[in-house]
């Protein structure tokens, strides 16, 4: 670039000004970019968000800007964009199954979800609890997704991956934002959030109210079809009402956060027993609070954090497991399990940088998981597998024969991790964590990460990690259900993984990442049939897998950004030497962000899900591949801080389906939403 061109670009804006508004903006932006960095950097440099953290593992960070750009309304829509992650569905309430690197199970307890670093795990099935009902994204500042085992730092369930959701603080919100969104399936949401100061406190508050009837795609046949009582063909039931509230108060070293989530009238998806249940519904609440104290200068080179947290989960399910007439039940087979859980945690952690060439992280904690109450009413008993005896009417069996009695567990843990700079540009991170459970005993999980800063634009990593997933209370203590009996003699399932990862920036506008992995799951917790035909939880089975993920992000021009990823995996069930099933072997995600006029952006994303084998015991033909295309048109803060967005998802109305579990009681799988549209308005006061 010679001098005259350089001046044309940056200084000689007279020509650009004459060329019209857009050219003028381009010139203005190029000048600003010389001080503030490129567009993606500006939001950091202008103080709207903090730099992302970089875990010594294979991590993806999704910012609030990304979430807005793709027009996402729910967390699941965001997670589908992460390399190596596919969001499938369970027939039960259509709950999300976050398949990470091929590890797919119906209750999905192998993924640890954290909100601000604190698990939201329920202890009954070990997942995010059964009445999930989605998670809105407006109050999310960023999402960090770590693929691969992370138990050496995070403990239980950091098995196939960790999803950490960081909510917006006062500094992220700055003022008051009001928003409404409406769209297909009678979906509507309204929210208000505020960030500001209240005396010496920084205050962030968020309230969202939403409701939807959910998509109504048809299930052609279901588990009741063979009984002649099925309500299929009929639509899936995905309606729900939702309230979400959060409060975040911070002052000096203290931060107090509280959260409330309510889900009402949550539809049963394709049915808890894989039989359509339009009448049944679910409701639940989550109440959470945490108090954190952090002193970055507790001592010389010592950063200390103490945190106490509380989570209460209430779940009420009113289910018609099989429709009226089934098994001679005129009103259907009715079961109404309710449960209440309380989790208390206390953690202390420290970060010490006083040693030459070493960074030491250590901590300890204790937690109390208490499923303190269960209640069940139902109109049947199950004296033997496949036998349903009428109880005459819906009766309360909470004391006589519930699905589970109250149980609790205490978990204590201690961990240490050191990052050792043992040679120039070489770092070895070694860590180990021990978790001691009051029910099944202890488990120790190590990790190693060797990082080589290979060149100015290349980082190479070799990672090893081991993870565990403790047996859930359903697996330990289920009773009165001969097809899913608990077993108190279980041990955790484990996952060991080796990864090789490269982050390479071949040009200023191009960032690439490559991760290669192998894993081995052992002592997999499954419900296994006994000689008497009852089914009991067992540590049974092994699974191995391997694959890779490639990511690309290219700033093609000042107004066009192209990004995407491709993930390939192959997971094999050791007992049958067949594909473990349900997870896509190939997954492509591509995205284009085009700022075609000042303040106007058009986002397009393509999601291609391919080559999903059946589970080894499932003889159905393969499920069809699908691809969906979404569009989001956004006009941002043009006048008086208005932000408008119009989104079309599944633009070409693809018939996208997720696999129903083996043996295929819903033979034609679980249909996803057809074409849908949304309109969103936000206003910053």
């Amino acid at each position: 670039m010679n001098r005259s061109i350089a001046r044309l670009v940056v200084v000689g804006l007279t020509v650009a000004l004459a060329a019209g508004a857009y050219a003028s903006q381009e010139g203005e932006e190029e000048e600003l970019a010389l001080a503030y960095g490129d567009k993606s950097f500006v939001t950091i440099a202008s103080g709207t968000r903090q730099p992302v953290s970089r875990a010594p593992s294979v991590a993806t960070v999704i910012t609030a800007e990304d979430i807005a750009a793709i027009g996402a309304a729910d967390l699941d829509e965001v997670l589908e964009t992460v390399p190596g992650v596919h969001v499938s569905r369970s027939p039960i309430l259509y709950n999300p199954i976050y398949i990470i690197r091929g590890i797919s199970t119906q209750y999905n307890p192998q993924v640890l979800m954290l909100v601000n670093g604190i698990p939201v795990t329920g202890v009954f099935t070990g997942n995010r609890s059964q009445i999930w009902g989605g998670m809105p994204v407006e109050n999310i500042a960023r999402i960090e997704v770590i693929r691969g085992p992370g138990s050496a730092l995070y403990g239980a369930d950091a098995f196939s991956g960790v999803i950490n959701i960081i909510t917006r603080t006062a500094a992220d919100i700055k003022g008051t934002e009001l928003g409404v969104r409406a769209g297909s399936f009678k979906s509507r949401d309204a929210w208000v959030q505020h960030g500001g100061a209240w005396g010496e406190f920084a205050v962030a508050a968020y309230l969202r109210v939403g409701a939807t009837e959910g998509q109504r795609e048809m299930i052609g046949r279901d588990a009741a079809t063979a009984l002649g009582t099925s309500l299929a063909p009929g639509p899936v039931n995905l309606g729900r009402d939702a309230i979400d509230a959060r409060l975040d108060l911070a002052r000096d070293k203290w931060r107090l956060r509280a959260g409330y989530q309510q889900r009402d009238n949550v539809g049963n998806g394709a049915g808890v027993a894989s039989a359509l249940d339009p009448k049944g519904s679910n409701s639940g609440e989550r109440v959470s609070a945490d108090l954190t104290w952090q002193d970055a200068n507790f001592g010389r080179d010592l950063d200390v954090t103490a945190q106490a947290s509380y989570l209460n989960i209430t779940e009420r399910s009113d289910l018609t497991l099989y429709p009226p007439g089934s098994f001679g039940f005129p009103d259907g087979v009715i079961g109404n399990p309710y449960k209440w859980e309380r989790h208390l945690r206390f953690n202390l952690s420290a970060f010490y940088t006083g040693f030459q060439s070493h960074k030491l992280r250590f901590g300890a904690g204790t937690q109390d998981d208490d499923l303190y109450r269960t209640r069940e009413t139902k109109n049947f008993s199950t004296p033997a597998p496949g036998v349903l005896s009428p109880l005459g009417s819906v009766v309360d069996v909470s004391d006589s024969a519930p699905f589970l009695r109250p149980h609790s567990r205490r978990v204590n843990h201690v961990y240490v991790q050191d990052e050792w700079a043992f040679a120039r540009d070489w770092y070895l991170t070694a860590g180990v964590r021990h978790d001691q459970y009051s029910d099944f005993g202890g488990t120790t999980n190590p990790r190693l990460a060797l990082v080589w800063e290979t060149a100015y634009n290349l980082t190479s990593k070799l990672l090893y990690g081991r993870a565990f997933r403790p047996p859930s209370f359903a697996e330990l203590y289920n009773i009165n259900n001969p097809v899913a009996l608990g077993n108190p003699n279980l041990k955790p399932e484990t996952n060991e993984s080796v990864e090789l990862a490269f982050a390479w920036q071949p040009a200023s506008t191009l960032q690439t990442n490559l991760s290669l992995f192998r894993y081995r799951m052992k002592d997999i917790l499954r419900f296994v049939q006994n000689p008497d035909a009852t089914i009991t939880a067992q540590n049974a089975g092994e699974q191995t897998g391997q694959g890779f993920e490639v990511e690309l992000a290219w700033e093609a021009s000042g107004s066009l950004r192209l990004s995407g990823n491709y993930a390939q995996q192959r997971s094999i069930d050791a007992a049958t030497d067949r594909d473990a099933g349900n997870a896509p072997r190939h997954h492509v995600y591509a995205r284009a962000d085009w700022r075609f006029m000042p303040a106007w952006t058009l986002n397009t994303q393509l999601n291609y899900v391919a080559d999903r084998k059946r589970e080894p015991s499932d003889t159905r033909p393969l499920i069809a591949d699908y691809h969906t295309v979404d569009l989001t048109l956004r006009n941002q803060k043009r006048s008086a801080n208005w932000d408008l967005a119009f989104t079309v998802r599944n633009l070409f109305n693809a018939d996208a389906r997720e696999p129903s579990p083996a043996p295929g009681l819903i033979p034609n799988d679980l249909p996803l939403a057809p074409r849908e549209w949304r309109f969103e308005v936000r206003h910053q006061l």
Partner: protein, 327 residues
């Protein structure tokens, strides 16, 4: 089939619908109230009507201006086609005495306004001397004195700073830089280059002559000599290989691998601009005129590069406004 028509469902749905409508109503009411709320203010800000994320920069600067002024100021986003006559009328109605012009478009628009009003310019890199002479201009270029002081703090052994610059673009800054280096007990070794080829030759000369223990390389905001596609990768690669410290006036370079950069503290910049404007209001005349380097800065550091250079920054870490990658 049943759930949408159950009484409970319908009740909830109606409730949510009413709430959504109420929230939308609040949005509209507040927006309307704000639109009517403009009043008299002696300071006016004229800035480019630009999309996100750049708009945020100007919002922050205005926040600083209002903070320092103690009252709201008149805000006028402008575009190339903005009606100057209407803008003049608005400024007169507001009784504006001093215009703070931000950005290239803000400056151009303000220059076409009534010359009876005072003017302060900010958020531009450089303007020709003939244009800068009339009023104070705070550049987006960080003050070399601050850059060099930071270099000394991070790398106490630094003795020489090399730079390749375009005199037409950064000549004014180099005069300040020579003095600033001397004040830190360092020498500024500056090469003039007006095109990419010459710049490249000088960089090669620099890399063959530097001693990484005591030398450092400065990348100014100079599109000719710090060209992003060819020169920057070369500089980053060679400096990495030689272990030479590189710092930049463009904060985006920190993520690419330079050791550190200083970048604008937008709110503080707004306060400085307001301070200059208040000075004009108070005295009726300009105290300072011409280009001034940016002194309201924050620091971004690349810890990966610092480690590669063998610099131990753990004790200084908390004084960094931004660190890449995070420890």
């Amino acid at each position: 089939m049943f759930s949408p028509t159950t009484p409970g469902y319908t009740r909830h749905a109606e409730f949510r619908g009413r709430l959504a409508a109420a929230l939308l109503g609040i949005v509209l009411l507040v927006a309307t109230a704000l639109a009517w709320g403009a009043g008299e203010a002696l300071l006016a800000v004229v800035y480019p009507d630009i999309g996100e994320p750049y708009r945020e920069i100007f919002e922050k600067i205005i926040e600083g201006i209002e903070d320092k002024a103690g009252t709201p100021v008149g805000n006028y986003p402008v575009r190339p086609g903005t009606d100057i006559g209407a803008l003049k009328t608005s400024l007169r109605r507001q009784n504006a005495k001093v215009v703070i012009a931000l950005g290239r478009q803000g400056m151009k628009t303000a220059a076409a306004l009534d010359h009876s009003m005072g003017m302060v310019v900010g958020c531009v890199l450089t303007v020709p001397e003939s244009e800068a002479r009339g009023q104070p201009v705070i550049s987006l270029s960080p003050d070399p004195a601050l850059l060099f002081a930071r270099l000394k703090a991070l790398m106490p052994a630094a003795k020489r700073v090399f730079v390749v610059y375009d005199p037409g673009f950064n000549g004014w800054l180099m005069k300040l830089a020579k003095e600033a280096a001397r004040a830190q007990g360092m020498e500024l070794v500056a090469y003039e280059a007006q095109d990419l080829r010459t710049a490249l030759r000088f960089y090669q000369e620099i890399f063959s002559a530097t001693d990484s223990r005591r030398d450092a390389l400065w990348l100014p905001q100079d599109p000719a000599t710090v060209e992003e596609r060819s020169i920057l990768p070369l500089v980053l690669q060679e400096s990495w290989n030689q272990g030479l410290a590189v710092f930049s006036s463009n904060v985006g370079h920190v993520r690419r691998g330079v050791l550190f950069s200083l970048y604008p503290d937008n709110v503080a910049l707004g306060k400085s601009l307001a301070g200059l404007a208040q000075g004009i209001l108070a005295t009726g005349g300009y105290g300072k005129r011409g280009m001034m380097p940016l002194r309201d800065v924050q620091i971004a550091v690349n810890l990966r590069t610092a480690k590669h250079l063998g610099l131990n920054l753990s004790h200084q870490q908390q004084s960094f406004d931004m660190a890449f990658p995070e420890p």
